[in-house]
Amino acid sequence: MNAIILSAVWGVIMMFSSILFKNKGAFKYIAAIGLIVLTVANIANTYGCDFFNINTHEMLRYTRFGLFFNTIAFLCTLIYVLLSGKEIEKHGNYVAEYYALIFFVLCGVSILTSFNNLLMLFLGIEILSIPLYILTGSDKRNLKGNEAALKYFLMGSFSTGLMLMGIALIYGGTGSFQIDVVRSATLFGTFSGISFLEVAGLLFMLVAMAFKVSAAPFHFWTPDVYDGAPTVFTSFMATVVKAAAFIAFIKLFEVRIADTSAVINWGMLLSLLIIATLLIGNITAVFQQSVKRMLAYSSIAQAGFMLFAVFSLNDFAKEGLILYAVAYSLATIGSFAILAKMKDITFEGFNGLAKSHPVLAATNTIFLLSLAGIPLTAGFFAKYYMLASVVKTGHYLWLVILGVLFAAVSVYYYFRVIQAMYFKEGDAQAEDVTPGFKIGLIIVAALIILVGIYPQVVLNWLYF
């Protein structure tokens, strides 16, 4: 409960700080303090110290897994705020409000990691999404941003509708919103014991969640929104938010997909989604001319990899998802932070960055290598755990092979950026790169390599 309440309260504090402080630079530090408070409170909660003991009638249930993800999300946001705080300040006069919205998003994240009831899931998804619609359109004078926000809102509403429809059908089928009850009612394995309404409801939920994590063929909003939104906010959306959606996804389907019988087998459906996501994400990214749009498609591709966790749902998958969340968030935050500083965000814009800004080029290379899953970076172990989880299920080995092939394709477009930075002539220009920013990037890159060499440094926290 600590995380949920404190994040909401700190959001309000951020709102009021806009009235109290006139200096734009101050908000970044208030937000950072808030994130540290949140992290500490959440860690306290993890080890049994809940400041707000409220009876939620089992609508929320705190698990080690969920709380640990909260910690990761808060820390990633902290890194994000410290790295990209300057960029947020550039977007208009409502800096404090942007931070407030980010805190509200984190509130949604905290609910999604602990929900035990479909209504809470819905609430979490909405609390998560609505601030994002606003952040997408935060650059009011940018037509592209406005378009993106409107699209995001329209399609988000559509998926919300689907989700509500699904929840209603499940309620119709089982008579409860509690996911425990939902689970127990369907553990039959044959059609005779299962309710049509419930299965239909679950399918709608699957579609809605697939939309939130931008799995194909429900990914259409992603490139347009990620491309149109201000780069800083894209960075946040593509990392913390997406990972949280995955946590919710895996929580919702945790027991569900394990029941594979001859008749009902979610594996087939999910493998279809995975293939479509990997295909569209990776293949379409190849042709993009703008690095930002390429990263948008790459985030779809990464989602395809994270879907493996939902597909296999074992210990490996859960550990892997945590690791993936860390690896992917760090690399993407870093990569977008550099992108936000670039004058020209096409591939040509990166030409010769190694000469003009060697630190940026070097750290960006590490981020991209991690995204591509090259060994000695965190991304390698993340992908490894994902694939290993599928191998552990014993079936669907071809899915693993497909995953590896698409990972190979992904190397192409990530390396295009590296090639542009190191091997092409040009004068890439980056704006106001401060020493602090460089140090931040180096720290993030070092973390990626640390996790890439010793992934247990993250995973051990799941158990101790």
């Binding site: 009021f16 009235i19 119709g172 005779s192």
Partner: protein, 133 residues
């Protein structure tokens, strides 16, 4: 085949059978509307003139496009009104159960009012309600 099966199973299984009347009603409703529309279309007299395609504005001649920019303040005030209006609605059930909920309910409503006031303070301070710049 299996789709058929599941429908069969659903009806003979648990409470999904209860939805059968709703389904019938749905079909009836759609059928009724469709029938009426087709019937009016077929039976009613038709007279096609250009005037019928004009916008009807209470008999007053139209002038210009309706999509004129209006100051954002109208929308702001309207939306804030709706927001607070909806929040006020929560007072009605509380008022009805005022005695039953006792002090416990009082503190909770007080907290709600607190949030309410905080939001109100915020919009006042941000100048959302100042009409003149």
């Amino acid at each position: 085949m299996s789709l058929m099966n599941i429908l069969l199973n659903a009806t003979e299984g648990n409470n999904a059978a209860n939805y059968f009347p709703i389904g019938v009603q749905l079909i009836f409703a759609i059928g009724f509307i469709a029938t009426m529309m087709i019937a009016t279309h077929l039976l009613g007299p038709k007279r096609k003139t250009a005037d019928k395609l004009e916008n009807f504005a209470s008999g007053i001649p139209t002038h210009g496009n309706a999509r004129q920019p209006i100051a954002i303040k109208y929308f702001l005030v309207a939306i804030l009104f709706v927001l607070f209006d909806v929040e006020v609605i929560f007072f009605y059930p509380y008022a009805v159960n005022f005695r039953a909920l006792g002090w416990d309910g009082f503190w909770k409503v007080l907290m709600f009012v607190g949030f309410f006031v905080v939001g109100f303070t915020y919009i006042i301070k941000k100048g959302a309600l100042t009409w003149e710049d």
